[in-house]
């Protein structure tokens, strides 16, 4: 991914026009084009380019975990050897067991964990089962782990940045 190229005004207009969602109409990119005052080909090219550059992660559907019955959610956190954490983080991300997987800074001694993997299940037993599978993938590279279950959503709004 190139990081030096920035988004120009038209890219930013496309972001603003689509960050709440893609129009639910047969030619959605044509509708976006009309909103931003550009041609549909231009809009499609730019969105394709933003996908290739990683500005857009993907275009698609984001289900609400709770609404589809995945009411248990555990943030599993792991103290993984730094030398191998990237390889293992990629493996966990592709395992089908987690919805998010991040390397984050530690706060020793209170917080020795560097790998955060979000696990969802229909109940806690399902979450625990997935956590066991993650533990198997990490093996001896993981020195310790915990699962922090969420017991209440205090606030949830979308990220809106421009």
């Amino acid at each position: 991914m190139d990081t030096d190229s920035t988004l120009d005004e038209l890219d930013q207009a496309i972001v603003r026009a689509t960050q709440a969602g893609l129009p639910l109409a047969p030619r959605p990119y044509h509708d976006v084009a009309e909103l931003v005052g550009a041609g549909p080909e231009e809009v499609m090219q730019r969105m394709q380019r933003m996908l290739e550059r990683g500005v857009i992660r993907r275009i698609g559907a984001v289900p609400d975990h709770y609404a589809v019955g995945y009411i248990a959610n555990g943030m599993s956190v792991w103290d993984v050897d730094d030398a191998v954490v990237d390889d293992l983080g990629e493996k966990i991300a592709h395992s089908g067991l987690v919805s998010h997987c991040y390397l984050r800074r530690r706060h020793p001694p209170l917080w020795p964990y560097n790998l955060f993997a979000m696990v969802h299940g229909r109940n806690r037993a399902e979450v625990e089962d997935k956590v066991r599978k993650i533990a198997q993938v990490l093996g001896a590279a993981s020195n310790a782990h915990e699962v922090l279950y969420s017991s209440r959503i205090l606030k949830k709004t979308g990220l809106r940045l421009s």
């Binding site: 990119y29 990683g54 500005v55 998010h100 997987c101 800074r105 279950y149 209440r152 940045l161």
Partner: protein, 150 residues
């Protein structure tokens, strides 16, 4: 909880993986799923309306838009929990806030237009709440292809 039928599930599984950039993307996906374009659009519309889908469209990576966000946590005493939650939630930059079962029992995401604003908000929350805020800055993200097989 809205009941999902087989077709809803197939739509969700397919559309979590991606959606084309083309003139008639709904038509392409509908053909792949063996349904009509109008039915696909209608299903998506109703799944959005009833909250099965939180969104449908491009997922932007905040940092690449020039924005910044971070995860932070606090250890809050039980008798102060609701008061502190109100203070934290009052910040528009706080996008999510979850209670979790751990000594660090309040976990929130701060999102803003710049890293400097994120830092300022964390500082202000720490000051207003009188509790240390632990910031868990993201060092790397490992990309997940399909987050929720249904």
């Amino acid at each position: 909880m809205p009941a999902l039928d087989d077709l809803d599930r197939r739509i969700l599984n397919r559309l979590q993986r991606g959606f084309p950039v083309s003139e008639r993307p709904y038509l392409e996906m509908a053909q792949e799923l063996g349904i009509g374009e109008e039915e696909l659009i209608a299903r998506l519309r109703s799944m959005l309306a009833e909250g099965t889908l939180t969104r449908f469209g491009p997922l932007y990576q905040a940092e690449r838009l020039g924005g910044a966000y971070t995860l932070a946590a606090m250890q809050v005493r039980e008798d102060q929990y609701d008061r502190i939650a109100r203070i934290v939630n009052a910040y528009p930059e706080v996008a999510h806030n979850y209670r979790r079962e751990h000594a660090l029992n309040m976990w929130f995401v701060v999102a803003a237009a710049s890293p400097a604003t994120v830092s300022r908000v964390l500082f202000e929350i720490e000051r207003d709440c009188g509790h240390p805020v632990f910031e868990f800055r993201k060092l790397r993200e490992y990309f997940v292809a399909l987050d929720l097989p249904l």
